[in-house]
C-alpha cells in the first residue's frame, strides 16, 4: 500500500507494508525541491527479546532457542551460537562433522537464495506484482525454483531433523549424523540443483536492472583458501580485518528513532553492505570453479560490485557455488566416528560470526562459571544493512521522481528487496531507548 503527498514543493513517499520482504516495515522518503531530505526504512515489527530469552540457559539450550529467530535462516543462528561456545570451550571439531555442517549451511543457502531469486525478486524484473502472477506466464520458471528449494529443504531435513527450525545441531557437532547411504541419496537432487542454478544465472543475466551505481563499503568473511562461510576473518573492501570473535573491534550497534531494529555502523560511523554482492565482490577468486566460470561467462561481476539491483545475480552465482560445494561434500562424505565432540563448559566471553544467506550474523555471549549465559548480543544482517539501504534509497530516489508514483514505488521497493531484508530477524533486540530533546 502506498500513498503520496505533493504540496508546496514537498514530495513524500510512504510505502506502508513493503511487499515481499520478511516482516513488517515501512519506507518513508521526504523530498523537498527534488532533494531527498530523509530516507527511512522503519521497522515496526515488534521486538522479540531473544537476547533476553537465552540468559540463564545452557549452551545447547541456546542453540535450540536461537533457531527460532528465523524460519528461513535458522542454521545461521544455530551455527553462530554453536561455534561461539566451541571457541570459548576450545572444542576440536571432527573434520567430517565440519564438512557436514557446511553441507547443512549450503542447504539453507540453496533454499533461501532460490526463494529470494525466484519468488521475491524475479517478479520485479519480469514486471509482475507477485510470484502467483508470474506463475501464470512463467510456470517452468516457478517450478524450477520449487525444485531448487526442495533440494535445500531435503538437505536441512536430513542433517537437522527438519527443514524449519532444525533440532540436531549442538555444541561440538550434531546429536546424530546421517549414515553415508542417506547422504549419498542427495547426489541426484544436487546434480539437478547445480544444473538449475547454472540455468538460473543465465536467466537472470537476461534481466534489465535500473541504472544505479555507487561504491559501498563491503564487509564479508574471508577464509584463506575457501569461500567465506563460518571460518576465517571479517574483512572489508577498505582494509578492516578482524577475527570472527572480534566484530566489536570494528563495528558497533546504535539506536535510531522510528525503528525497532538496531542499526550497525563501523566504529568510525560508516554504513556498510553485507550479503551476496559483498561476498562475491570480495571473495570471487574463492568461489567454486563452476561458479567462477559461470560468473565470468555472465560478465556481471562489475555490475554486482556497483549496482545493488544486481544482487539477484550475486545470489544466483552463490546458488551455483552452494550446489557445487554441497555436491562435493556429498560425494566424499564418510560418517564421523561420533556425532559430536564432548566438551567442558567454562566461564568467559566469546563471539563468532558466520555468513547467513543475507550476510554476517554475529553472536556474542558472556558465560558464567556454571556454563550458563549471563548476557547475549546477536547482530542480524538486516540491522547491519539497514543504514546502507537508507543511503541507497536517498541516492536513487531522485532518479524516479519523474515517474508515475506507482512505478516509482515499485523501483524503490525493488531496491529494498535487493537486500532481501529479514525484518523479523532484525527485531529480536532487548532494549529500546529513545532520547528526546
Amino acid at each position: 500500500m502506498a500513498k503520496a503527498e505533493v504540496a508546496t514543493g514537498e514530495h513524500n513517499f510512504e510505502v506502508v507494508g513493503i511487499a515481499r520482504v520478511e516482516g513488517e516495515g515501512t519506507l518513508r522518503l521526504r523530498i523537498t525541491a527534488g532533494e531527498v531530505r530523509e530516507a527511512r526504512l522503519s521497522i515496526f515489527e515488534a521486538p522479540r527479546y531473544f537476547e533476553k530469552l537465552v540468559v540463564g540457559r545452557t549452551p545447547n539450550e541456546v542453540v535450540d532457542i536461537v533457531a527460532r529467530i528465523c524460519g528461513i535462516c535458522p542454521v545461521a543462528y544455530q551455527m553462530g551460537a554453536s561455534m561461539a561456545f566451541e571457541h570459548l570451550f576450545e572444542v576440536e571439531i571432527d573434520p567430517q562433522v565440519r564438512a557436514l555442517r557446511k553441507l547443512f549451511y549450503w542447504g539453507e543457502w540453496i533454499e533461501s537464495h532460490a526463494l529470494h531469486v525466484y519468488m521475491l525478486h524475479a517478479p520485479d524484473f519480469l514486471g509482475y506484482e507477485s510470484a502467483i502472477a508470474m506463475a501464470r506466464d512463467h510456470k517452468p520458471v516457478v517450478e524450477q525454483a520449487l525444485r531448487l528449494k526442495r533440494t535445500g529443504n531435503e538437505i536441512m531435513k536430513l542433517i537437522g531433523g527438519r527443514a524449519i527450525h532444525p533440532v540436531s545441531m549442538r555444541v561440538g557437532g550434531f546429536s546424530k549424523t546421517p549414515p553415508r547411504a542417506q547422504v549419498e541419496a542427495l547426489h541426484e537432487p544436487l546434480t539437478e540443483a547445480l544444473a538449475l542454478s547454472q540455468a538460473t544465472l543465465k536467466l537472470v543475466a537476461t534481466f534489465k536492472a535500473p541504472e544505479f551505481e555507487r561504491d559501498p563499503l563491503y564487509v564479508a568473511i574471508k577464509h584463506p583458501i575457501e569461500y567465506g562461510l563460518n571460518e576465517g576473518r571479517i574483512v572489508s573492501s577498505d582494509g578492516i580485518d578482524v577475527p570472527l570473535w572480534g566484530w566489536r573491534e570494528a563495528f558497533h550497534e546504535e539506536q535510531h528513532e522510528g525503528t525497532n531494529a538496531l542499526h550497525a555502523r563501523t566504529t568510525d560511523g560508516r554504513t556498510y553492505m553485507l550479503g551476496p554482492s559483498a561476498r562475491v565482490t570480495l571473495n570471487s577468486d574463492q568461489l567454486h570453479p563452476l561458479a567462477q566460470a559461470a560468473l565470468q561467462a555472465s560478465g556481471l561481476a562489475p555490475q554486482i560490485a556497483r549496482n545493488p539491483y544486481w544482487a539477484i545475480a550475486a545470489r544466483s552465482v552463490e546458488l551455483i557455488h552452494a550446489s557445487a560445494s554441497a555436491l562435493d561434500i556429498v560425494d566424499s562424505y564418510q560418517e564421523p566416528a561420533r556425532p559430536f565432540t564432548p566438551w567442558t563448559p567454562r566461564g568467559g566471553e566469546t563471539g563468532w560470526g558466520t555468513e547467513a544467506p543475507r550476510g554476517i550474523c554475529w553472536h556474542h555471549y558472556d558465560v558464567d562459571e556454571n556454563g550458563r549465559v549471563a548476557a547475549a548480543q546477536i547482530i542480524a544482517p538486516t540491522g547491519q544493512n539497514q543504514g546502507m539501504i537508507e543511503r541507497d534509497l536517498a541516492e536513487f530516489a531522485p532518479q524516479v521522481l519523474s515517474l508515475p508514483h506507482a512505478e516509482a514505488t515499485v523501483r524503490l521497493e525493488q531496491l529494498i528487496r535487493s537486500y532481501d531484508p529479514c525484518i523479523s530477524c532484525a527485531t529480536h533486540f532487548l532494549n529500546l531507548e529513545i532520547d528526546r530533546d
Binding site: A19, V21, I72
Partner: protein, 156 residues
Amino acid sequence: MAPARSVRVLICGERLRGDDGAAILAAEALDGATRALAEIVHVGQLAVESLLDVPEGTAVIVADAAVGVAPGTVVTLPLEDVVRRIGAAPASSHALPPDQVIALAGELRGGLPHGSFVGIGAERLEFGEELSAAVESSLAGFTATLADEIRRLAAG
C-alpha cells in the same frame, strides 16, 4: 468400510506459538475411526510443495489457525473461496501466507485440488503453549468440524 476417496489433511501451525498450535491439538483429538479415513500430515508452515504433492483424485484439507476471523470462530471454506479472498500483496513472502500458497499451487497444478480450509480464529500467537480462552473453549468444536469435513470428503 474403505473410504470412497483418499483424503490428506495438512496440519499447519506451531505448538509453541499459542493459538497457532490449535490445528495440531485438533488433529491429536480426532477419534480413531476418523483418523483412519485420512492421511494426517504435519507441515508446520504450509508450503506450495505440500499442495503440489497431493495426488490427483485425493482431496485435501488445510487446517490452521487464522487471523482476520473472530477469536475462537471456526470456519470452513472451499479452497477456491480461500483464493478469492486474497488481499493486497503480503507483508512477507519468505513464507507466503496460506491463501497465496494455495493460489500459487493452483496456478502450477492447473487447478486446485478438491478440498477445503478448516480454520479457527486465533488471538494469542506469542511464545508458549498456552491457548487464548477463546480458542481453548472452541477447540472441541474445531475438532468436530475437522472430523466432519474429513468424513464428508472421504465419502466422495
